[in-house]
């Protein structure tokens, strides 16, 4: 595939891996967090971590928008899906996320009309095709997907589609990163910054991480060479004693972001005072809701939504795993009460979560050599 294969070149990969090896201080253990779930996916898909020395450890961050949705929100979605006449639409991987009593897939099996869509516009199309039904779109994701929800809501308004609404669980990336960085027991050396989010918000919002918290951050693309190069840039900063924001993904990410997308976000959404994250608890100003001007398209106002808070199970230690304080297997419920088939916490929900990955690949994952 043109414009893709160039970023998957094995010879270049080996060259960058050799560079990384030359930058590693023997005996020092490095923990680098890739913030975005998309990076985690690429790392697994291409075996990027296999090209790193074992003392460079990748910690999977809070940037999987599906895994961070708390149980109470999943329950709200299921309650909406079960209302008579409702067609509930959502992205594919949201369907498997467990609520306190099953997932949307389970609700579908029990008779709810739950449909997978690829874009919020597909949900709007379904609404126009089924005027006698209420179509609810389950909006999730970081600033990456929020603009497409915003544009869809604007279009629904312009086209006067009355039977369309949206339950909004969009989140923003900076507050959870700040929460992680504020934690006194954080053990991370640097960050691979979220390239897709930065395409929308720009690189600028991440300046505070090197400036205020002294951790290098490199905004990176999603091809394996992008990720390796970003890791090498972080290690070079550490070796040089520098601490900066760098942009490896300049071919896509402008420093100031995408002004038109930001404009749409500002028009359609406003910040919630606080939003709950699975495994991380409540974080101020980390979630988006529909602005007053769009209140009539807000499913949470149009319908009666339970809105009950379901506490993360006490034994769950996802927060510590995310901060790099403990390894997955050090969690009290890992592998016993919490498994990929019956996950408790965010790190086990997605197959790419740190715990699910360790559960599946544990012994294999430890075969790498330590430099």
């Amino acid at each position: 595939m043109r414009f893709v294969d160039e970023f998957r070149d094995a010879a270049l990969g080996r060259a960058v891996a050799a560079e990384i090896l030359s930058l590693v201080e023997p005996g020092r253990h490095y923990k680098v967090m890739e913030v975005c779930g998309g990076h985690t996916h690429s790392i697994y898909k291409f075996g990027v971590d296999d090209l790193l020395p074992a003392n460079v450890e990748l910690v999977h961050g809070p940037g999987c928008p599906v895994c961070v949705i708390p149980m109470g929100r999943v329950d709200d979605g299921i309650a909406l899906a079960q209302l008579p006449g409702v067609i509930f639409t959502c992205f594919g991987d949201m369907m498997r996320v467990p609520g306190s009593n099953g997932s949307l897939l389970d609700a579908k099996a029990a008779g709810a009309d739950v449909r997978m869509v690829y874009s919020p516009l597909d949900a709007l199309r379904i609404a126009k095709e089924s005027p006698d039904r209420e179509v609810v779109f389950c909006a999730i994701g970081f600033e990456t997907t929020a603009p497409s929800t915003a544009l869809t809501l604007k279009r629904a308004r312009a086209e006067r589609v009355k039977n369309f609404s949206c339950i909004c669980s969009h989140v923003t990336i900076v507050p959870p990163l700040r929460a992680l960085l504020e934690s006194p027991d954080l053990r991370l050396d640097g960050f691979v910054g979220p390239g897709h989010v930065a395409t929308v918000v720009g690189a600028r919002p991440f300046e505070f991480i090197p400036a205020d918290y002294g951790k290098p951050l490199v905004v990176a693309g999603f091809e394996p060479l992008d990720i390796l190069q970003a890791i090498s840039m972080i290690l070079r900063q550490l070796a040089d004693g520098r601490c900066e924001l760098e942009n490896q993904y300049k071919r896509v990410v402008p420093y100031e972001g995408n002004p038109r997308a930001l404009e749409a976000l500002a028009e359609v959404f406003e910040l919630r005072p606080h939003f709950e994250w699975r495994g991380l608890g409540f974080i101020s100003h980390s979630g988006l809701k529909l602005a007053e001007a769009y209140a009539d398209l807000d499913a949470e106002r149009r319908f009666d939504v339970p809105g009950a808070r379901v506490a993360d199970p006490k034994a769950c230690q996802c927060g510590e795993v995310l901060k790099g304080v403990i390894k997955p297997w050090e969690c009290k419920v890992f592998g016993t009460a919490c498994t990929p088939e019956r996950p408790i916490g965010t790190c086990m929900v997605s197959s790419e979560g740190a715990c699910a990955a360790y559960y599946n690949f544990g012994r294999f994952a430890r075969e790498r050599e330590v430099v």
Binding site: M1, G38, K45, G47, C64, M94, R96, G335, T336
Partner: protein
């Protein structure tokens, strides 16, 4: 004992707990049937191993092969059955009728049995156009003739509108064990080579695109075809050196390899760069975030061959029309047992796990 040793002792213990749990027969504990139970991954496995085999479990069934064996007066027969519920009924490269013949023929073929006869059950939905039915009858008849099987029994049911997506087809196939074949999952041995009979992912991708949910256009055709010519050629060329065959249908090549790695307690190493994938399939899979290794095929087999016979087997495969792109894609190893590893084209290694549910597209 040093602190380091205590910690790794604990880690070792937890890894042990997980491995014991994984090795256990899957339990069926779900409250309801979900689509995942039909997707060919872990949920399907829990249904088969946790409910069906314990309930019916004779020796033939508990082998969980593509076809069961029945010995009759010295002859060994192979019996298999399959239902076809594809939507849409016609898709680029084939139709439900053609699929219903080839799918069952292929289950016999990869069991090392020459397909002899089929039974055919039709479940028709009230309102189905007669021309559509005629079209499928023609497709069934043509596919049966070219696969050299006779349809010897049949049944028809009609259900109310809204109950059967046009039509469902169930076929049962009878075959005769070929004397050249010594196929068995337990025959898979470390060192064996893994051969693929052609490019992968075409059937599943053709169906996904034909449903029109993705607004993607690509000229991808289903690969539905009888595999008996390929099996025949392999048996002729290498006979007993052919250890095991599987047709990579639901769940794709990845599921076939995982099932065998698990049941034979061996590891498999697959070279991603060696796997033939048509550019259009690779492109669509990339856009949808789906790995072609998990996408269904309807005319591709995976062959496990003794290392010294691998070249002859590959040459034999490539001489069969439709298998020109056959390739050696990996080998069987000892460690780590039960796992399938992929050497990626980029140069890393990763685990290729069993599918947990339906392959759901990712948002990020």
């Amino acid at each position: 004992m040093t602190e380091q040793a205590i910690v790794s002792g604990r880690e070792e213990k937890i890894l042990g707990v997980i491995e014991t749990a994984r090795a256990k027969r899957a339990k069926f504990r779900d409250e309801r049937i979900t689509m995942a139970h039909g997707a060919g991954g872990k949920a399907t496995q829990s249904l088969i191993e946790g409910l069906f085999v314990p309930a019916f479990g004779g020796t033939a069934l508990s082998q969980m092969a593509d076809a069961g064996e029945v010995a009759v007066d010295g002859a060994t027969l192979a019996l298999t059955t399959d239902s076809y519920v594809v939507k849409p009924l016609r898709f680029p490269g084939g139709s439900i009728g053609e699929l219903a013949v080839n799918g069952t023929v292929n289950d016999l073929a990869v069991s090392g049995a020459r397909p002899l006869a089929l039974s055919l059950s039709l479940v028709l939905e009230e309102g189905l156009q007669a021309d559509q039915l005629r079209g499928e009858v023609d497709a069934i008849s043509l596919a049966a003739r070219s696969a050299g099987v006779e349809i010897v029994a049949g049944d028809t049911k009609v259900v109310e509108r809204g109950h059967a997506d046009g039509m469902y087809i169930c076929t049962t196939g009878l075959g005769r064990r070929d004397p050249r074949a010594r196929l068995s999952p337990s025959g898979v041995t470390p060192g064996d080579r893994i051969l693929l009979s052609g490019s992968i992912g075409e059937h599943g991708m053709a169906i996904m695109l034909a449903r029109g949910e993705f607004e993607l256009d690509a000229s991808i055709e289903s690969d539905t075809a009888s595999l008996w010519p390929a099996v025949d050629a392999l048996l002729d060329a290498v006979g007993p050196e052919l250890r095991c065959l599987r047709d990579a249908t639901r769940g794709g090549v990845a599921s076939v390899l995982n099932e065998l790695a698990r049941s034979s307690s061996v590891a498999m190493l697959v070279r991603e760069g060696a796997i033939p994938v048509q550019p259009a399939v690779a492109g669509a899979a990339e856009i949808l975030g789906i790995d072609p290794m998990y996408v269904a095929n309807e005319g591709k087999l995976v062959a496990f061959v003794a290392p010294e016979a691998a070249d002859a087997a590959l040459a034999a495969l490539r001489s069969v029309p439709g298998c020109e792109r056959a390739a050696e894609v990996g080998e069987v190893r000892t460690e780590p047992p039960g796992m399938v590893l992929v050497q990626t084209s980029f140069g890393g290694r990763r685990v290729m796990d069993q599918l947990v549910g339906d392959p759901l597209p990712r948002i990020c």
